[in-house]
Symmetry: C2
Subunit: 193 residues, 2 copies
Protein backbone atom coordinates (compact mmCIF):
# COMPACT_ATOMS: atom_id res chain seq x y z
CA UNK A 1 0.00 0.00 0.00
CA UNK A 2 1.33 3.37 -0.95
CA UNK A 3 -1.45 5.94 -0.57
CA UNK A 4 -1.36 7.69 2.81
CA UNK A 5 -4.82 7.18 4.26
CA UNK A 6 -6.31 9.67 6.72
CA UNK A 7 -9.52 9.19 8.70
CA UNK A 8 -12.08 11.97 9.19
CA UNK A 9 -14.62 11.39 11.94
CA UNK A 10 -17.54 13.69 11.15
CA UNK A 11 -19.96 15.02 13.76
CA UNK A 12 -21.78 17.06 11.11
CA UNK A 13 -23.57 16.73 8.72
CA UNK A 14 -25.03 13.50 10.17
CA UNK A 15 -28.45 12.10 10.98
CA UNK A 16 -29.84 11.27 14.39
CA UNK A 17 -31.99 8.19 14.96
CA UNK A 18 -35.08 10.07 13.75
CA UNK A 19 -33.33 10.98 10.47
CA UNK A 20 -32.97 14.61 11.59
CA UNK A 21 -29.86 16.51 10.48
CA UNK A 22 -27.75 17.20 13.58
CA UNK A 23 -24.27 17.93 14.91
CA UNK A 24 -23.43 15.16 17.39
CA UNK A 25 -21.24 15.64 20.47
CA UNK A 26 -17.69 14.33 20.28
CA UNK A 27 -17.22 11.07 22.20
CA UNK A 28 -13.78 10.84 23.87
CA UNK A 29 -13.50 7.09 23.36
CA UNK A 30 -13.85 7.60 19.58
CA UNK A 31 -10.88 9.98 19.61
CA UNK A 32 -8.80 7.50 21.62
CA UNK A 33 -9.75 4.37 19.70
CA UNK A 34 -9.28 5.92 16.27
CA UNK A 35 -5.93 7.35 17.39
CA UNK A 36 -4.78 3.91 18.53
CA UNK A 37 -6.01 2.42 15.25
CA UNK A 38 -4.20 5.12 13.24
CA UNK A 39 -0.95 4.59 15.17
CA UNK A 40 -1.14 0.79 14.84
CA UNK A 41 -1.77 0.86 11.08
CA UNK A 42 0.72 3.66 10.41
CA UNK A 43 -1.79 6.27 9.24
CA UNK A 44 -0.29 9.77 8.97
CA UNK A 45 -3.16 11.37 10.89
CA UNK A 46 -6.87 11.60 11.57
CA UNK A 47 -9.36 14.44 11.84
CA UNK A 48 -12.01 15.07 14.45
CA UNK A 49 -14.51 17.18 12.51
CA UNK A 50 -17.12 19.39 14.16
CA UNK A 51 -18.42 22.86 13.29
CA UNK A 52 -19.21 23.51 16.98
CA UNK A 53 -16.43 25.69 18.37
CA UNK A 54 -17.08 24.67 21.96
CA UNK A 55 -16.78 21.00 21.01
CA UNK A 56 -13.46 21.64 19.29
CA UNK A 57 -12.26 23.42 22.44
CA UNK A 58 -13.27 20.41 24.57
CA UNK A 59 -11.35 18.03 22.29
CA UNK A 60 -8.28 20.29 22.44
CA UNK A 61 -8.52 20.26 26.24
CA UNK A 62 -8.72 16.46 26.33
CA UNK A 63 -5.81 16.16 23.89
CA UNK A 64 -3.78 18.56 26.02
CA UNK A 65 -4.17 16.27 29.01
CA UNK A 66 -2.70 13.32 27.12
CA UNK A 67 -0.13 15.19 25.04
CA UNK A 68 1.41 17.53 27.59
CA UNK A 69 -0.44 17.04 30.89
CA UNK A 70 -0.54 14.27 33.47
CA UNK A 71 -1.73 11.77 30.91
CA UNK A 72 1.48 12.06 28.86
CA UNK A 73 3.55 10.86 31.83
CA UNK A 74 1.00 8.24 32.88
CA UNK A 75 0.65 6.65 29.44
CA UNK A 76 3.19 7.66 26.76
CA UNK A 77 1.63 5.10 24.39
CA UNK A 78 -1.59 7.06 24.41
CA UNK A 79 0.36 10.21 23.63
CA UNK A 80 1.79 8.50 20.52
CA UNK A 81 -1.75 7.76 19.33
CA UNK A 82 -3.35 11.11 20.12
CA UNK A 83 -0.52 13.07 18.51
CA UNK A 84 -2.05 11.99 15.20
CA UNK A 85 -5.31 13.87 15.91
CA UNK A 86 -6.24 17.16 14.25
CA UNK A 87 -9.41 19.07 15.16
CA UNK A 88 -11.11 20.87 12.28
CA UNK A 89 -14.45 22.56 11.55
CA UNK A 90 -15.34 20.72 8.34
CA UNK A 91 -14.09 18.26 5.75
CA UNK A 92 -12.83 21.04 3.46
CA UNK A 93 -10.40 22.08 6.21
CA UNK A 94 -9.22 18.47 6.50
CA UNK A 95 -8.69 18.33 2.72
CA UNK A 96 -6.67 21.58 2.92
CA UNK A 97 -4.54 20.23 5.77
CA UNK A 98 -3.76 17.04 3.82
CA UNK A 99 -2.93 19.04 0.71
CA UNK A 100 -0.52 21.17 2.73
CA UNK A 101 1.07 18.11 4.37
CA UNK A 102 1.44 16.03 1.21
CA UNK A 103 1.42 18.52 -1.67
CA UNK A 104 -1.54 16.74 -3.27
CA UNK A 105 -5.30 17.03 -3.08
CA UNK A 106 -6.64 13.88 -1.35
CA UNK A 107 -9.44 11.77 -2.74
CA UNK A 108 -12.40 11.53 -0.35
CA UNK A 109 -14.09 8.22 0.43
CA UNK A 110 -17.53 8.09 2.00
CA UNK A 111 -18.90 5.26 4.14
CA UNK A 112 -22.32 4.15 5.33
CA UNK A 113 -24.09 1.16 6.81
CA UNK A 114 -26.40 0.92 3.78
CA UNK A 115 -25.80 0.56 0.02
CA UNK A 116 -25.34 3.52 -2.38
CA UNK A 117 -25.35 3.84 -6.17
CA UNK A 118 -21.90 3.35 -7.62
CA UNK A 119 -20.39 2.09 -4.39
CA UNK A 120 -16.96 0.47 -4.47
CA UNK A 121 -16.05 -2.88 -2.84
CA UNK A 122 -13.14 -3.14 -0.41
CA UNK A 123 -10.85 -5.14 -2.72
CA UNK A 124 -11.59 -2.64 -5.50
CA UNK A 125 -10.87 0.36 -3.24
CA UNK A 126 -7.61 -1.26 -2.15
CA UNK A 127 -6.61 -1.48 -5.82
CA UNK A 128 -7.77 2.10 -6.47
CA UNK A 129 -5.67 3.41 -3.57
CA UNK A 130 -2.61 1.52 -4.80
CA UNK A 131 -3.05 2.90 -8.32
CA UNK A 132 -3.78 6.44 -7.11
CA UNK A 133 -0.65 6.51 -4.99
CA UNK A 134 -1.68 9.82 -3.37
CA UNK A 135 -3.41 10.83 -0.14
CA UNK A 136 -6.96 9.78 0.68
CA UNK A 137 -9.45 10.65 3.42
CA UNK A 138 -11.85 8.01 4.71
CA UNK A 139 -14.93 9.88 5.98
CA UNK A 140 -17.02 8.27 8.74
CA UNK A 141 -20.22 9.71 10.14
CA UNK A 142 -21.13 9.54 13.83
CA UNK A 143 -24.73 9.32 15.01
CA UNK A 144 -26.84 7.49 12.43
CA UNK A 145 -24.51 8.25 9.54
CA UNK A 146 -23.47 10.87 7.00
CA UNK A 147 -26.15 13.04 5.42
CA UNK A 148 -27.08 11.91 1.87
CA UNK A 149 -26.29 15.10 -0.12
CA UNK A 150 -22.97 15.40 1.63
CA UNK A 151 -22.17 11.78 0.75
CA UNK A 152 -22.74 12.58 -2.91
CA UNK A 153 -20.12 15.33 -2.77
CA UNK A 154 -17.37 12.77 -2.02
CA UNK A 155 -15.20 11.12 -4.69
CA UNK A 156 -15.97 7.50 -3.81
CA UNK A 157 -18.34 5.59 -1.62
CA UNK A 158 -17.38 2.30 0.04
CA UNK A 159 -19.80 -0.62 0.12
CA UNK A 160 -21.26 -1.29 3.58
CA UNK A 161 -19.75 -3.85 5.91
CA UNK A 162 -22.53 -6.42 5.64
CA UNK A 163 -24.49 -7.23 8.77
CA UNK A 164 -27.52 -9.39 9.36
CA UNK A 165 -30.72 -8.51 7.52
CA UNK A 166 -32.27 -7.01 10.65
CA UNK A 167 -29.20 -5.64 12.42
CA UNK A 168 -26.27 -3.58 11.10
CA UNK A 169 -25.27 -1.20 13.88
CA UNK A 170 -21.55 -1.28 14.58
CA UNK A 171 -20.14 1.55 16.66
CA UNK A 172 -18.25 4.04 14.50
CA UNK A 173 -15.11 2.91 16.37
CA UNK A 174 -15.62 -0.71 15.31
CA UNK A 175 -16.52 0.27 11.75
CA UNK A 176 -13.37 2.40 11.45
CA UNK A 177 -11.23 -0.50 12.68
CA UNK A 178 -12.74 -3.00 10.24
CA UNK A 179 -12.55 -0.58 7.29
CA UNK A 180 -8.91 0.34 7.87
CA UNK A 181 -8.04 -3.34 8.28
CA UNK A 182 -9.84 -4.18 5.05
CA UNK A 183 -8.03 -1.39 3.18
CA UNK A 184 -4.55 -1.67 4.71
CA UNK A 185 -4.45 -4.83 6.84
CA UNK A 186 -1.97 -7.63 6.30
CA UNK A 187 -1.13 -10.98 7.85
CA UNK A 188 1.54 -11.24 10.52
CA UNK A 189 4.77 -12.58 9.08
CA UNK A 190 7.20 -14.70 11.07
CA UNK A 191 10.09 -12.79 12.51
CA UNK A 192 8.43 -9.44 12.97
CA UNK A 193 7.99 -8.10 16.45
CA UNK B 1 -18.93 -20.31 7.87
CA UNK B 2 -20.69 -22.86 9.95
CA UNK B 3 -19.08 -22.87 13.40
CA UNK B 4 -20.97 -20.66 15.89
CA UNK B 5 -18.35 -18.25 17.23
CA UNK B 6 -18.68 -16.74 20.70
CA UNK B 7 -16.51 -13.95 22.14
CA UNK B 8 -15.20 -14.01 25.70
CA UNK B 9 -13.91 -10.68 27.03
CA UNK B 10 -11.63 -11.55 29.95
CA UNK B 11 -10.90 -9.17 32.83
CA UNK B 12 -8.79 -11.84 34.56
CA UNK B 13 -6.17 -13.32 34.27
CA UNK B 14 -4.61 -10.35 32.46
CA UNK B 15 -1.54 -8.16 32.84
CA UNK B 16 -1.45 -4.47 33.66
CA UNK B 17 1.04 -2.13 32.00
CA UNK B 18 3.72 -3.14 34.53
CA UNK B 19 3.25 -6.84 33.65
CA UNK B 20 1.52 -7.47 36.97
CA UNK B 21 -1.29 -10.03 37.09
CA UNK B 22 -4.55 -8.18 37.76
CA UNK B 23 -8.33 -8.23 37.40
CA UNK B 24 -9.31 -5.16 35.40
CA UNK B 25 -12.58 -3.28 35.84
CA UNK B 26 -15.29 -3.83 33.23
CA UNK B 27 -15.58 -0.94 30.77
CA UNK B 28 -19.18 -0.31 29.71
CA UNK B 29 -18.25 0.72 26.17
CA UNK B 30 -16.59 -2.69 25.66
CA UNK B 31 -19.83 -4.43 26.55
CA UNK B 32 -21.80 -2.20 24.17
CA UNK B 33 -19.37 -2.32 21.25
CA UNK B 34 -18.84 -6.08 21.40
CA UNK B 35 -22.60 -6.59 21.67
CA UNK B 36 -23.17 -4.48 18.55
CA UNK B 37 -20.38 -6.40 16.79
CA UNK B 38 -21.89 -9.74 17.83
CA UNK B 39 -25.37 -8.71 16.65
CA UNK B 40 -24.08 -7.38 13.32
CA UNK B 41 -22.05 -10.51 12.52
CA UNK B 42 -24.70 -12.92 13.78
CA UNK B 43 -22.75 -14.35 16.71
CA UNK B 44 -24.88 -16.45 19.07
CA UNK B 45 -23.54 -14.66 22.17
CA UNK B 46 -20.62 -13.16 24.06
CA UNK B 47 -19.29 -13.46 27.58
CA UNK B 48 -18.18 -10.72 29.94
CA UNK B 49 -15.77 -12.62 32.19
CA UNK B 50 -14.70 -11.41 35.63
CA UNK B 51 -14.14 -13.24 38.92
CA UNK B 52 -15.08 -10.10 40.88
CA UNK B 53 -18.66 -10.52 42.06
CA UNK B 54 -19.24 -6.80 42.51
CA UNK B 55 -18.14 -6.19 38.90
CA UNK B 56 -20.55 -8.85 37.64
CA UNK B 57 -23.32 -7.15 39.63
CA UNK B 58 -22.48 -3.78 38.04
CA UNK B 59 -22.63 -5.29 34.55
CA UNK B 60 -25.99 -6.92 35.35
CA UNK B 61 -27.28 -3.54 36.53
CA UNK B 62 -26.12 -1.84 33.32
CA UNK B 63 -27.63 -4.62 31.19
CA UNK B 64 -30.89 -4.30 33.12
CA UNK B 65 -31.14 -0.64 32.15
CA UNK B 66 -30.90 -1.46 28.44
CA UNK B 67 -32.83 -4.75 28.44
CA UNK B 68 -35.82 -3.91 30.63
CA UNK B 69 -35.37 -0.35 31.89
CA UNK B 70 -35.57 3.08 30.29
CA UNK B 71 -32.84 2.20 27.83
CA UNK B 72 -34.94 -0.55 26.22
CA UNK B 73 -37.61 1.98 25.24
CA UNK B 74 -35.09 4.67 24.28
CA UNK B 75 -33.00 2.43 22.00
CA UNK B 76 -34.42 -1.00 21.10
CA UNK B 77 -31.42 -1.59 18.80
CA UNK B 78 -29.14 -1.50 21.78
CA UNK B 79 -31.36 -4.04 23.52
CA UNK B 80 -30.95 -6.42 20.57
CA UNK B 81 -27.16 -6.19 20.95
CA UNK B 82 -26.95 -6.46 24.73
CA UNK B 83 -29.33 -9.43 24.84
CA UNK B 84 -26.40 -11.45 23.54
CA UNK B 85 -24.30 -10.76 26.68
CA UNK B 86 -23.70 -13.32 29.43
CA UNK B 87 -21.80 -12.46 32.60
CA UNK B 88 -19.64 -15.27 34.01
CA UNK B 89 -16.84 -15.69 36.57
CA UNK B 90 -14.30 -17.50 34.39
CA UNK B 91 -13.74 -19.07 30.99
CA UNK B 92 -14.68 -22.55 32.24
CA UNK B 93 -18.18 -21.24 33.00
CA UNK B 94 -18.36 -19.80 29.47
CA UNK B 95 -17.31 -23.18 28.04
CA UNK B 96 -20.03 -24.88 30.12
CA UNK B 97 -22.66 -22.40 28.93
CA UNK B 98 -21.74 -22.99 25.28
CA UNK B 99 -21.75 -26.76 25.78
CA UNK B 100 -25.25 -26.51 27.29
CA UNK B 101 -26.49 -24.25 24.47
CA UNK B 102 -25.01 -26.25 21.59
CA UNK B 103 -24.51 -29.78 22.92
CA UNK B 104 -20.81 -29.63 22.07
CA UNK B 105 -17.63 -28.57 23.87
CA UNK B 106 -16.33 -25.42 22.15
CA UNK B 107 -12.74 -25.02 21.03
CA UNK B 108 -11.03 -22.05 22.68
CA UNK B 109 -8.97 -19.54 20.69
CA UNK B 110 -6.53 -17.20 22.40
CA UNK B 111 -5.42 -13.81 21.09
CA UNK B 112 -2.58 -11.41 21.83
CA UNK B 113 -0.81 -8.39 20.35
CA UNK B 114 2.47 -10.33 20.17
CA UNK B 115 3.51 -13.63 18.53
CA UNK B 116 3.28 -17.04 20.22
CA UNK B 117 4.70 -20.48 19.41
CA UNK B 118 2.38 -22.48 17.19
CA UNK B 119 0.11 -19.54 16.44
CA UNK B 120 -2.44 -19.84 13.64
CA UNK B 121 -2.98 -17.30 10.86
CA UNK B 122 -6.43 -15.83 10.18
CA UNK B 123 -7.00 -17.65 6.85
CA UNK B 124 -5.94 -20.91 8.52
CA UNK B 125 -8.24 -20.35 11.51
CA UNK B 126 -11.10 -19.61 9.13
CA UNK B 127 -10.49 -22.99 7.48
CA UNK B 128 -10.17 -24.72 10.86
CA UNK B 129 -13.50 -23.29 12.02
CA UNK B 130 -15.19 -24.41 8.82
CA UNK B 131 -13.78 -27.92 9.15
CA UNK B 132 -14.58 -28.14 12.88
CA UNK B 133 -18.17 -27.16 12.33
CA UNK B 134 -18.80 -26.83 16.07
CA UNK B 135 -18.82 -23.96 18.56
CA UNK B 136 -15.75 -21.87 19.31
CA UNK B 137 -14.88 -19.18 21.84
CA UNK B 138 -12.56 -16.33 20.86
CA UNK B 139 -10.86 -15.17 24.09
CA UNK B 140 -9.70 -11.55 24.32
CA UNK B 141 -7.82 -10.07 27.26
CA UNK B 142 -8.42 -6.55 28.55
CA UNK B 143 -5.64 -4.47 30.14
CA UNK B 144 -2.30 -5.39 28.61
CA UNK B 145 -3.39 -8.86 27.50
CA UNK B 146 -4.01 -12.43 28.63
CA UNK B 147 -1.62 -14.01 31.13
CA UNK B 148 0.88 -16.37 29.46
CA UNK B 149 0.15 -19.62 31.36
CA UNK B 150 -3.55 -19.10 30.79
CA UNK B 151 -2.93 -18.58 27.08
CA UNK B 152 -1.20 -21.96 26.92
CA UNK B 153 -4.30 -23.68 28.32
CA UNK B 154 -6.32 -22.70 25.24
CA UNK B 155 -6.73 -24.90 22.17
CA UNK B 156 -5.45 -22.41 19.57
CA UNK B 157 -3.72 -19.10 19.49
CA UNK B 158 -4.35 -16.56 16.72
CA UNK B 159 -1.48 -14.63 15.16
CA UNK B 160 -1.39 -10.96 16.15
CA UNK B 161 -2.95 -8.27 14.01
CA UNK B 162 0.29 -6.71 12.81
CA UNK B 163 0.99 -3.12 13.79
CA UNK B 164 3.99 -0.92 13.27
CA UNK B 165 7.30 -2.04 14.78
CA UNK B 166 7.03 0.48 17.62
CA UNK B 167 3.28 0.63 18.11
CA UNK B 168 0.68 -2.13 18.36
CA UNK B 169 -1.94 -0.98 20.83
CA UNK B 170 -5.47 -1.31 19.51
CA UNK B 171 -8.29 -1.05 22.01
CA UNK B 172 -9.77 -4.47 22.80
CA UNK B 173 -12.96 -3.19 21.12
CA UNK B 174 -11.13 -2.47 17.86
CA UNK B 175 -9.19 -5.75 18.04
CA UNK B 176 -12.40 -7.73 18.56
CA UNK B 177 -14.00 -6.02 15.55
CA UNK B 178 -11.05 -6.72 13.25
CA UNK B 179 -10.70 -10.34 14.42
CA UNK B 180 -14.38 -11.16 13.95
CA UNK B 181 -14.33 -9.53 10.52
CA UNK B 182 -11.24 -11.53 9.55
CA UNK B 183 -12.83 -14.79 10.73
CA UNK B 184 -16.42 -14.26 9.55
CA UNK B 185 -16.51 -11.14 7.40
CA UNK B 186 -17.73 -11.10 3.83
CA UNK B 187 -18.19 -8.58 1.03
CA UNK B 188 -21.53 -6.87 0.54
CA UNK B 189 -23.46 -8.43 -2.33
CA UNK B 190 -25.79 -6.48 -4.54
CA UNK B 191 -29.42 -6.77 -3.61
CA UNK B 192 -29.05 -7.29 0.11
CA UNK B 193 -30.40 -4.72 2.49
Amino acid sequence: MSAPLYIALLHYPVHDKNRKLVATAVTNVDVHDIGRLAATYGLPGYFVVTPVEQQRALVHEMLGHWLTGEGAAYNPRRKQALELARVVANLADAVDAVREATGRVPVTIGTSAGPRDGMVSYPEMRRLLDAWDGPAILALGTGWGLEKQFQQSLDYHLAPIPGLADYNHLSVRSAAAIMVDRLLGREYSAGER
